[in-house]
Amino acid sequence: MLEIMEGSHAVAQSVGLCRPEVIAAYPITPQTHIVEALAEMVADCTIDAEYITVESEFSALSACLGASAAGSRVYSATTSQGLALMFEVCFNCAGMRLPVVMSIVNRALGAPLSIWNDHQDSISLRDSGWMQLYAEDNQEAIDLHYIAYRAAEDHRVLLPSFVCFDGFILSHTYEPVDMLSQEQVDSYLPPFKPYHRLDAADPISFGLFASPDYYMEFRYAIDQAMNQARNVLPEAGRVFSEMFGRDYSGMVEEYRLDDADCAIVAMGSICGTAKDAIDEMRDAGKKVGLLKIRAFRPFPVKEVQKALAGVSTVAVLDKNISLGSKGAVALEIRDALYGSQIPVLDYIIALGGRDVRKKDIAAVVDGAEAGKGDIYYGLREEVLK
């Protein structure tokens, strides 16, 4: 049944339904209403979790790491600078194969200081060994948490996962969502069964020293787990679709792409605006479609190749920039299409919360069809002087 609520509160409710046993967070800007709402739920005994308030984001994720190693289902949420402070612990969670799930409410990184949305924070942890899922709307943001836990805790994977959704644009928006019942979530998400765990009666160690004779094999094993996630994520999405009707069986989603000449590729909430813009362009006779990237890590190379096989131009909307190179999504798309003759044009867009309208999407498509790309879209020349 649909009900209307703020994105942050909707995510907090869905996380509560996942029965986390330990939640750790650092409640300072940048933070969101998610951990505030979860703190209330713990205080009101509506969820049975240990809530640990700590002195920094580094400690928040460290507490999650320890609790996960002890065999608990854990949760945290952060954004921008907070995630930057977790950098080291992120790599440790993945290296120790701990299925931590964390909401990343995407926001820009300083300097200059910005509170607004882009994808630079999570993209900067691209190589950390966490799965990265991106939501278009609040319904998807909710549902991806169930899917993330199921896939992360699968013994074929055992990797942590970000669930990314756009700061303010989704987190602070009221819109209708369908919240599952506790029984439904319980039937989809069984209790966490750790593969290894810290146990005083049967001592083991996590995160030990690895000499050059061993380190590479550990890294290879993490990468192999990511490869397993390529199967497990769609499987978790398929089971979800069968049980509850909403389809997350693809690591990508195609929109009006079948006969498209120009394909837009994007992640997150900008996909909603792009869909509306595409409908208008289609009405005007332009064959345009969208490839939405739902999973950025592992990157769905085969799905991308299949979806873009028939198009003549690809325009990638990147809400991030790998400074000195290109947008991170465009680099992946070019790699996936290596050897094909399809031009892939990159548009760095909407950094630091700059608003994107339907007409901006249409302008990108016009530019791509004219071969004009690899630009920062909408730069204000008067500011640069």
Binding site: I4, I169, T173, Y174, P176, S269, I270, G272, T273, K358
Partner: protein
């Protein structure tokens, strides 16, 4: 799709008004989306909040540039902010003011002025006009029903505070209905 842009000053409850209007619209069977324009949240600083209404799922995420409706919580904003920017022809502007306004209003829009501050002071005891103006919006636009608005207010505020806010909204609703 119809769109509403609310102009106010930090502390006047513009974001809450947007949320409650969306809740009331949703309870009335529509899809609705409410979100604020984020800036530096200071008391007195100009702020905006937005609401979309549609009979199907809303995907658009941009801010609102060509609204069907605007609500202006404080008429002194008109000096600093072009609150009418993009307001559609045939659109409705609801402006809180104590005295007659002498600004040149854009042509082709319906301007409704209401002394929401006095209504709020009388019923709530504080000059917070958001719920009052929600009543005026319900009457002028027909996008939300008064009883859905009451439910939305009761969900947000407790007991006596909710009833006072509802009384303020009802008085503004009657004022606009009688004036039109």
């Amino acid at each position: 799709m119809r769109e509403l842009r609310i102009h106010g000053r930090g502390g006047q409850g513009s974001v809450t008004a947007a949320e409650l209007i969306a809740v009331a619209a949703f309870e009335g069977g529509m899809f609705a989306q409410a979100f604020p324009a984020f800036g530096v949240e200071r008391r007195g600083a100009p702020v905006q909040a937005f609401v979309r209404f549609d009979n199907q799922k809303i995907r658009l995420r941009s801010q609102i540039y060509e609204p069907d409706y605007i609500i202006v919580q404080d008429s002194t904003l008109i000096r600093d902010v072009n609150v009418f920017q993009g307001l559609k022809e045939g659109g409705i502007a609801i402006i809180n003011t104590e005295k007659a306004l002498t600004y040149p209003f854009p042509k082709g829009v319906k301007v409704i002025t209401i002394d929401a501050t006095s209504i709020a002071l009388k019923t709530l005891g504080v000059p917070i006009t958001n719920t009052t103006l929600m009543g005026a919006f319900a009457a002028a636009s027909g996008e939300i029903k008064l009883d859905a608005l009451e439910d939305a207010v009761r969900r947000r505020f407790k007991g006596d505070l909710a009833e006072k806010n509802i009384a303020a909204a009802k008085e503004a609703y009657r004022f606009v209905k009688e004036a039109s």
